[in-house]
Symmetry: C3
Subunit: 332 residues, 3 copies
């Protein structure tokens, strides 16, 4: 693997999940694989889970780690070509990426969208230019429109939390009795958030659905449709109650509008996930990428119940990152 | 040990000091003890000595380290339960602590008091909730009311700087000729500082006094009494000159008032420690946890003299942290 | 080596370059040399290349690393003696440096000039006091007036990019056919920048010229003369076109005026390096320490051409740092 930006960079999601769960059983089985290999983790935005879990994964593989917090430890980068750099940006991404590529065998990059212009954010200019100029394999630690390490983790968590079996012959997971119903539901929030997590989760679940692993439903208010390229095959509704019926997994997430780009167009708190809302589900497991605002996005009663698997989900970030790093280090 | 928050978490202060001084002689004797163990160092406030010495101690034991600076690299955490998180806090301590617990075998946490309400700070809500939710052994890197790694270091420094012997049979230090007189004296400062260091030093010295290791005196101006639970058995006076007489160790520290909580009620610069003030002492060694404001808290003439052992004291932070980590790793 | 602050701290620039290029061929040949040795990297200012390359070099030698970002993770340091610290500085450099010396076998320090008073900056008070008080070997990661790791890298890059041979008998490089003409040229910028990089480059090139390795020319507008102690033997001109004639290497760099200290006295954009300007050169290689403002300092057409070796140059930072660390660790 030369790039981990989207589900499309994974040749087999089943094998990737298997590799991650193998690491969960035996974290140090490849502890020399990354010896004399350096990963550079470049943060243009805050990070807790991604920062810690990716470092932990790299350490489990014996890699060296360089962390660069561009905002506090560095300076602003320019991405536009053909403009004289007379403003606030001190370095062009062409040089910054190429230099970091000189110091590292693998790079991880986190850069949030500006949420001003859809076209600008969805061009993924920053990530794609960085990838092009650094000249090394690169892992998204969340880009403007996708968060693949999170979605890979989400799939791992669904697989390990439901009745799946792994077929060693065709190297595929399959649901032993029935496919789970996985529902991604929008929920309220006080701030305008990126669409990266829901886009990415949708993309991975659509792929999982295409491979017969899940049934996938998205529920959101009017005006909150995700960009269609990420939701092909999903059953989409604006009726949350209907969507939650018989759900096995409820993935809760706020996002700002894609249509009215970056705006909060719905403040209907009735979309918050509560115990009451879960009554129609199949005793569904509740998931969220975190951080989550309690009693805004999800009620505390849910987060503190056994139905919540958000901590297990966050813990799995390590194994997702480790499986991705392995594929990069072994050039699979 | 499952928690290092206070002197009460140490079963034997003598054995702890012995363990630390053994590491000072031979830093790498347990260099594989922490292999495949990760410590997460979580800073909600600035740190120099604690940051560097705890990392060094962990490296000496072969541990992996994850550092998380919440302010610059992360976001604000909520501690209150039952409130809708519509404000500035982006994540609840319940999730943040639990997630960090997923990534680490040991956690270290630094969080200063707000110095607004004594009850709030002295509830140690942040530390105790973090400890409860992370599910892993946790080390205080300075909490609202205590700084045990500092006080442990202080005891180590006193033991190694005076005529003590270690009795291998009862595993206790004892003063060979006489007990030293240890004086904690308040000193002026331009800012309102926490009581964590003096509370903690008092707590450790009271324990040392109870075990026959020192005679302990506290001197402070009117209105600067520490909370009594930390000073049981201490000889307390508002007469600094009297206190300093025949002192063997003078521990200098400013703190804001506990009675008039968080306020500076005394600006009497005559409490600054000078060479003159030390004349009545038994050629006392001068200690301070650092950072120290020169010629405000302690005169430069004292800090630059041979009587000052503040650098040796700071150096000992490594061995204190290493001894604590060992107890946690070996579940002593 | 006990200090790496200037070219004067290197006993032989040829042997130093040879050592660095040996590491470039075989980065891990001394991977146990730094075992149980800790380097502390202390940043008072932002850093990308220096931060990452020095860490990488230390890792290649098996060292432990402690990073301290004073601004975000710590507090302001006082350098003046004999003043009561009643202001914004929380710790004196005497204590801070000595304490860091307790935790580390080697220290690296980055501290920019204030660009207010030449005398203050050129006294190098911060670096020299830190070096004196820390009691350990210290490496400049860029000081107020010099940036020796950068200049060492620059010499490495020139040696490996031209027709040099290494004489094993006298342990000297020599130019096989002819000496290259190396031109340091001032270029425009929007901000007032330190003179550290040009001072340091000049100092190293003057030494290289004295050893018969290069011919060295400096071109700058009126009012931009560097302090003469750094340019002894250099051919200095205010005619950029004349300077560039037959140049083999063009080192481009902005600096603020030394004469009218810290000021921007020339805003003549015609000093920017373009393809046109390079036509009179001997197909010169173009160098810059980075970060570089495109189309302000150097035209994009040049940076994107094969004549630019700025990325190779930045990559060599690792080997320069590694060669310096080796000399310190082996006490050569």
């Amino acid at each position: 693997m030369k790039q981990f930006f989207s589900v499309k960079d994974i040749s087999s999601i089943s094998q990737a999940v298997k590799s991650a769960l193998d690491y969960k059983q035996n974290p140090y089985k490849d502890e020399n694989l990354g010896k004399h290999k350096t990963i550079g983790l470049i943060f243009l935005n805050p990070s807790l889970r991604t920062r810690m879990s990716t470092q932990k994964a790299a350490l489990n593989l014996g890699m060296d780690i360089l962390v660069m917090n561009m905002t506090s430890d560095g300076w602003a980068l320019e991405t536009k070509d053909g403009v004289a750099m007379t403003g606030n940006t001190a370095e062009h991404i062409r040089e910054a990426a190429a230099v970091m590529g000189e110091y590292c065998e693998v790079l991880g990059l986190r850069s949030f969208p500006k949420l001003k212009e859809a076209e600008e954010d969805y061009s993924e200019e920053f990530f794609s230019k960085f990838a092009a100029y650094c000249g090394k394999p690169i892992i998204s630690l969340e880009s403007a429109t996708l968060h693949p390490l999170q979605s890979f983790t989400d799939l791992i968590t669904i697989i390990e939390s439901f009745d799946y079996q792994y077929n060693d012959l065709n190297k595929q997971y399959f649901p032993f009795t029935k496919k789970p119903k996985v529902v991604l539901t929008w929920a309220p929030h006080t701030k305008a958030l990126p669409q990266a997590v829901p886009n990415s989760f949708a993309e991975w679940m659509c792929q999982a659905q295409a491979e017969g692993l899940v049934d996938f439903v998205i529920a959101h208010p009017e005006g909150y449709a995700l960009k269609t390229e990420f939701t092909i095959g999903a059953n989409i509704t604006t009726n949350q109650e209907e969507a939650l019926k018989n759900a096995d997994f409820v993935y809760v997430k706020n996002w700002s509008s894609y249509e009215d780009y970056g705006k909060i167009t719905c403040t209907d708190n009735s979309w918050m996930i509560t115990s009451d809302k879960l009554k129609g589900t199949n005793n569904a497991k509740v998931m969220h990428c975190l951080p989550v605002r309690r009693d805004v996005v999800i009620a505390s009663e849910v987060l503190d119940s056994k139905q919540s698997i958000v901590i297990q989900q966050a813990g799995n970030r390590v194994w997702a990152a480790q499986a991705v790093l392995k594929q990069i280090l072994t050039k699979e």
